[in-house]
């Protein structure tokens, strides 16, 4: 299978005043298309830092990151925005939906920045909402949806652009256990449809839904079930 993500010796050093902190200390791994990977580790071990780099929201201090064969390190901010828009889908712990905006318009948002016309946007957004089991909730505002439903909207938004990878940082962190199970089975279904998913979690039962677990500790990988 082709590699969607290839990280080679990724380091990330944060500088605060005269203090330096190395959050990632030379991380290397690759992920193939169609995988469902859980990234595990204690709080502060560097999971989110690594996800931000994968998501092209942050740049590594050193090391190489190939996304779908493209060297992300060589790109400028506008190109990175394009990559985020076309190749990546984000699911956050706090859902991060736009308040006072109907669910369907939240889902459409990536397509707005992709420059699609409104009819095409609406079509794709409705299909994505169907896919996550939210048909009929199109016009609800986030405040009129449960936590699980809000996370489904976020997943639909991540799906709508047909990305190469969906990146989810603690997607069930704010959800109760039954809703967690719903969201995880949705992820499993999507993965079975061929979508690559990388998910950060520190809960073992959540990580168990994934086919592969990578474990971080203090900025290093200490385990990979591949």
């Amino acid at each position: 299978m082709s590699e969607v993500i290839a990280l080679t010796d990724i380091r990330r050093v944060f500088t605060m005043g005269d203090q330096q902190f190395e959050a990632l200390k030379g991380v290397s791994y690759s992920i193939s298309a169609g995988e469902f990977v859980a990234i595990m580790g204690a709080s502060g071990s560097g999971k989110s830092t690594c996800m931000n780099i994968l998501g092209c929201l942050d740049r590594p201090t050193s090391g190489q990151y190939l996304l779908d064969g493209l060297d992300v390190g060589a790109m400028n901010t506008n190109q990175l925005a394009d990559i985020r828009n076309k190749k990546l889908g984000f699911v956050f712990q706090g859902f991060n939906l736009l308040a006072r905006t109907p669910a369907v318009e939240n889902v459409e948002l990536p397509l707005v920045y992709a420059g699609l016309h409104s009819r095409e946007r609406r079509e794709k957004a409705l299909a994505a909402m169907q896919q996550v089991g939210l048909a009929g909730k199109e016009n609800n505002h986030p405040s009129q949806l449960s936590g699980g439903q809000q996370q489904r909207v976020a997943i639909a938004r991540a799906l709508v652009n047909n990305p190469a990878v969906i990146l989810a940082d603690e997607p069930t962190g704010n959800l109760d256990s039954s809703t967690t199970a719903e969201i995880m089975s949705l992820f499993t279904t999507l993965n079975k449809q061929g979508i690559t998913i990388i998910m950060v979690t520190h809960e073992h039962d959540v990580a168990a839904y994934a086919g592969r677990q990578i474990t971080f500790r203090d900025g290093n990988i200490i385990g990979d079930t591949k």
Binding site: N78, A81, F90, Y113
Partner: protein, 408 residues
Amino acid sequence: MDFLQTVKIALRALRTNKMRSFLTMLGIIIGIASVIAMMAVGSGASYVISQQIASIGSNIILVIPGSTTSGGLRTGSGGAQTLTSDDVKAIMAECPSVDLASGTVRSSGQVVYGNMNWSTVIMGGTPELFEIREWGIANGRGITQQDVDGAVKVCLLGQTVADNLFGSADPVGNIVRIKKIPFTVIGVLERKGQSPQGTDQDDTLFVPLRTAQRNLVRSQHTNNVGALIVKAKSKELLTKAEEEINSLLNQRHRITGGKEPDFSTRNLSEILAVAEQSSKAMSLLLGAVASISLIVGGIGIMNIMLVSVTERTREIGIRMAIGAKKNDILLQFMTEAVLLTMLGGLIGIALGAGGAMVVSRMLEWPTLISFQSISIAFVFSGAVGIFFGFYPARKAAGLNPIDALRYE
């Protein structure tokens, strides 16, 4: 991202904080409204002035006795009487750029008809006077050369005089007494309105020049005239005509070397220039008031936009994470600012126009709302949005997506 979508997003953002958006716009609304209202009243005023100037007649040169003083002109009435009917004839004959000339004398006094009496300005003039001043007869006939030559005791009434002595009745053919001398009314002049100095030009009675010289003004020589009114052949020849008159009269009055002339000339373009200057000063003042109020309004916009950027840091982070470029964010906040100011501008234009209309109704003062002033106001309000929206928008666009997403 298409522009329509940007506008839609901006409108939604403004709608979610309706009261705040309105209060933010208020500065612009008040600024633009006052500018529009003042411009309307101001151009109404300059319209009135230009009408009044036009009412004097076109291409006109006045020749008045006495020399110029630094403060302006001497009126010559009661002053030295240095101009004569012969000067008028000479000007007509010898100044090629002159079309028409008329001597005038001016007096004032009681005019009596039956038991009505009216105190007014009495002018003596020749038929040319009415041609020069482009002043037609509303009723009856005008003064003829025969009336002048024969010093016939006839008179023409201005509308105000006619109204006050005769009411709605026809004055023509009736006898009025001017300074106790009976005159036959031969006609009534058309309405002229106010002069640039604000006097009622229709509050005047005209008699043939020689009649006035003989019967109504006291002077040593009945040939004297109070002032000359001259019409140049064209606007271009106005200055030339003035030069010709000056040199002719200098010669006739034997003004040589350092001797101060005993007359002076004024042409209409000078009056126009003064009026133009005052209207320029007026628009400069309006412009200053406008820019101050717009700057104040603009600062309000900037302030609120900065607050809005801070409040919506997370939203900005979300948008960036899913693919918004710096320019998309910049454009979004700029659009919001410009929509705020343009909307404020539109409301201000409507309010200002309404206010001007109320003023013109209540004070019976003409107001002129030009398309130009409306479009300038509109463009200006947009420009204020661009100017004061840029800094907050750039701040938004410069946010780091990770920090923005983490912002609580």
